[in-house]
């Protein structure tokens, strides 16, 4: 039996993930390489260490800002957004 795919959005775009997949893995599997811009240089960043140590893969998920995409499992209905909020006053 094939498990249902998890549905989520990335910057409004509908995507799906395998159950159990992290946000980072799901984005990579969907061909998304980058989901953060650095605050000084505005440079794109994606997944680097993959195990929660480097914080390069920070992403906003629902109301949680700047969580590590490599560690957070995707849940059905999650709204994932490019993180531009790290260290920036709003």
């Amino acid at each position: 039996m094939r498990a249902e795919r998890v549905r989520f959005t990335f910057d409004g775009r509908p995507l799906t993930a395998e159950p159990g997949q992290t946000v980072g893995a799901a984005l990579l599997a969907a061909g998304v390489r980058s989901w953060r811009r650095t605050r000084a240089g505005g440079r794109p960043r994606g997944l680097f260490c993959g195990i929660g140590a480097c914080f390069d893969c920070l992403v906003d998920v629902n109301d949680d800002r700047a969580v590590r995409a490599c560690l957070v499992p995707v849940r059905d209905g999650d709204q994932v957004r490019t993180s531009e909020s790290v260290g920036v006053d709003r």
Binding site: Q21, L28, V72, P73
Partner: protein, 500 residues
Amino acid sequence: MSTLVADVAVVGAGPAGVAAALAAADLGAQVVLVDAGQAVGGQIYRQPATAAAAGVTAVGPKMPRRLDRVVGHPRIKHLPGTVVWQAVSRAGGAGGVEFRLWLTSASGRTEAGRSEAEHVVARAVVVASGASEVVLPFPGWELPGVTTVGAAQALLKGQGVVAGRRVLVAGSGPLLLPAAAGLAEAGVEVVAVLEANPVTLGTVARGARLAGFTKKVGEAAGYARILGQKRVPVRAGYAVTECSGDGQVERAVVSRVDRDWRVVPGSGRSLAVDAVHVSFGFSPALELPRLLGCAELAQPGRPSAKVWCDADQATSQAGVFAAGETTGVAGAEVAELEGYLGGVSAVRYLRKTRPEVSLFNMDGEGLRAGSGEQDGQEVRAVQRVRAALVRARRFADGLDALYPWRDGWLEWARPETILCRCEEVAWGAIEAAVADGARDVRAVKGVTRCGMGYCQGRVCGPALQQAVAAATRQGLSGVGDLGSRPVMAPVSLGTIAGSA
């Protein structure tokens, strides 16, 4: 606010932590096992989290079945997806010490399905928090698509996902080969494996054979067979010295390097790739032992110190034991054996320091003054572990000696090359700080913000040490390190306020 009370808190559930938890629990202790991962095994024995990952052909060591017992063990409470962000000890009466560990969600996401407990209070701690992967900076290493080798492993083994279809695996150390073999087996075109040191599969296999480690010869032969079948060239004395691309890595420069990792002039060749996986080995994760005040030992020629411990895995702090990579990076076999010793030693410490106190929820046999026969079994088991450890460490030391850390990579960097990824501190700023009189890494950090960002110097620390050592013409030991501060993981101010 809930608090878990245990005899022994084990931090980290790789081979060292699992073994420590099993040893202590089998002797009757109530154990709390805190781990950032969703399943036990740590990075080396990463378990599949998805159906796709479960279908990936496993390459490399698998978690030994003897460790499976940790799941569902009646005296082990496993807290997955959880990290310690603060730790303190205080006198707990009758000569003992009480440790309090503050916990938070590993991912930073609220309600991420982890245990609700906010503290663990325990009377002994086994630190088994592993190591951080070392990556050295080069132009373009911050581009999306450039990842650590560990990331490629975690994605493939944990998630069944690959970061690129045409990749290079580069750096130095024994991890490159199984990682490349795993990717090749999964259908990724591995353009080459580039080992900066003059070490080939043959060198490793010959060394292992001479030392009598037949299992390791077999492992190396297995990787060689896969890489051969997939026609993946393995090149010693080569490195990725630059990556470029528009918003992501599209090209990598592969250069021949000399014994010190300096680029051989004119040897660079540009290749089209969509991912580059880099690793230069590992350095012990010292955040928790530092918070607990454990003494350290410098590692000559290596950027990071390691936790000092005695032959029983006891650190300089009463009640704190350390096992696995925090005591020196030596691989899974050594880690597991140290874990057993650490777990036994933690229980022996509790018996000795608090003989009048029965252990929490103690249901039995082990920890009470055992029968003579039980004591004899325990002593013999410990002797067997020690003998195996001597052997395993010999192999690990031999392997370690094959992969020294050189400083020729300093010439790969340009003034605009990013050193600190978090704070975006470029190489030129480090040189300027040294030119202005900064003599150690703390001073450079203060001037440049290098190491002050989210990762707290976990990524740039080793490179910064070597950079400052070279720029100031001092040895690595002369420039210090970035140290670590209380609060080991990012937590919200609300969490800190709520913990008072």
